[in-house]
Amino acid sequence: MKPYAWSLGFAFILLGPVVGALLAGIDRRLTARMQARKGPPILQPVYDVLKLFEKDTLVVTPLQTLYLWGFLFFMVVSGFILFLGSDLLLSLFALTVSGIFLCLAAYATNSPFSNIGSSRELMLMMAYEPMLILVPLGFFLVTDSFRVSDIVSGSPWQVIQLAGILIGFLFMLTIKLRKSPFDLSSSHHGHQELVKGITTDLSGSDLAIVEIGHWYENSILLGWLYLFFAPWGPWIALPITVVLFFAEVLVDNTNARLTWSSTLKASWLVTVVFGVTNLALLPFIS
């Protein structure tokens, strides 16, 4: 392994949350501007987390903290593998394990709100997981490798060949980022029927761990999106990635929340129509 790859991996561990926090801050500012408000400072998510460390942590069960560290650990592992230029499938599996840990933490607390939240989160995982699996599969069929470093130095035409998978991935990105219309399990705003979903019973430093995990997740998802455009070089790929990422804010602000059943139907329909069709057509267009 080249020292360059290692440095990128360790840069993720250090700078991943910084980039993720800035993305979250810009997200909140953009949301506010779309609602004709001034909005909080860009660093607001950082202030929030630093504040949470000043608060007391109410421990419902000691297990919750263990599970949350599991969530954070596997999130970091997933991103580390990705930015190391290693196996994309492995990165995806680590991301899934991390999501499961968050559900476990919510199930461990006895609040009915967080239990419903994690049930819905599991349902959402069922919704987005098939499409997310298709992403590494598509890259494999185009570049003959699951390795991120090979995908980055792949054919510049890969985004055209994988257009359907890109559309499907953008759809699932809305779910992963907990944006409307798919913010069923938990969201940045208080829910009328679900309070705060998964994080209802988490407070203080426990909630801070969740937030930091989400910052890492933001960077990872941005990295995944970047992979589609990566062969064009960072100067073209990065702006496209960031614009697509923030297009999710527009989707968030213009959609009402769906029920879990329509979410499942819609996401599987997208998976079949865009993802599977793209895979089936791939032999003819490569």
Partner: protein, 149 residues
């Protein structure tokens, strides 16, 4: 400098309010006043809240809820009573089922008068509560150190 001042999350509960103060309180979140620019977020969850905003007077039904919500909020926390009813019971003071102001059941730190309280005065009340919150945070930090030793 405490970060509590930069990101106070509020919990709003209408004890037995006529909803006049609640409307004014929610007006603070609208584009005109937009308190989110100070990092103030309206959480519906006591476990995430730093400031407890209560409107309306207290009766037996709402007493349980007010006490429960207050108990569920992690320290450091402050309570702001909003509107004439929350201060003393207001025009409902003599009603047979009304206990009186919020301070009959939980300790109140800031009183915001008005019927209904104006958004400007509510924001002013929250800003005053922030100083108390910062002091509490310092005290709490010292307590934690003493426990650790």
């Amino acid at each position: 400098m405490s970060f509590l001042k930069k990101s106070p999350w509020v919990l709003h509960y209408a004890a037995t309010s006529c909803n006049g103060c609640d409307i004014e309180l929610l007006a603070c979140l609208t584009p005109l006043y937009d308190v989110e620019r100070f990092g103030i977020v309206n959480t519906g969850n006591p476990k995430h809240a730093d400031i407890f905003l209560v409107t309306g007077s207290v009766n037996e039904e709402s007493r349980k809820v007010v006490e429960n919500l207050y108990a569920q909020m992690p320290d450091p926390k402050v309570v702001v009573a909003i509107g004439a009813c929350a201060l003393s019971g207001g025009i409902f003071k003599d009603a047979y089922n009304v206990y009186g102001g919020i301070d009959k059941v939980i300790p109140v730190d800031v009183y915001v008068p008005g019927c209904a309280a104006r958004p400007e005065s509510i924001i002013d009340g929250v800003v005053q509560a922030l100083d108390i919150l910062e002091q509490r945070a310092k005290d709490r930090k010292r307590q934690r150190k003493m426990v650790a030793v």
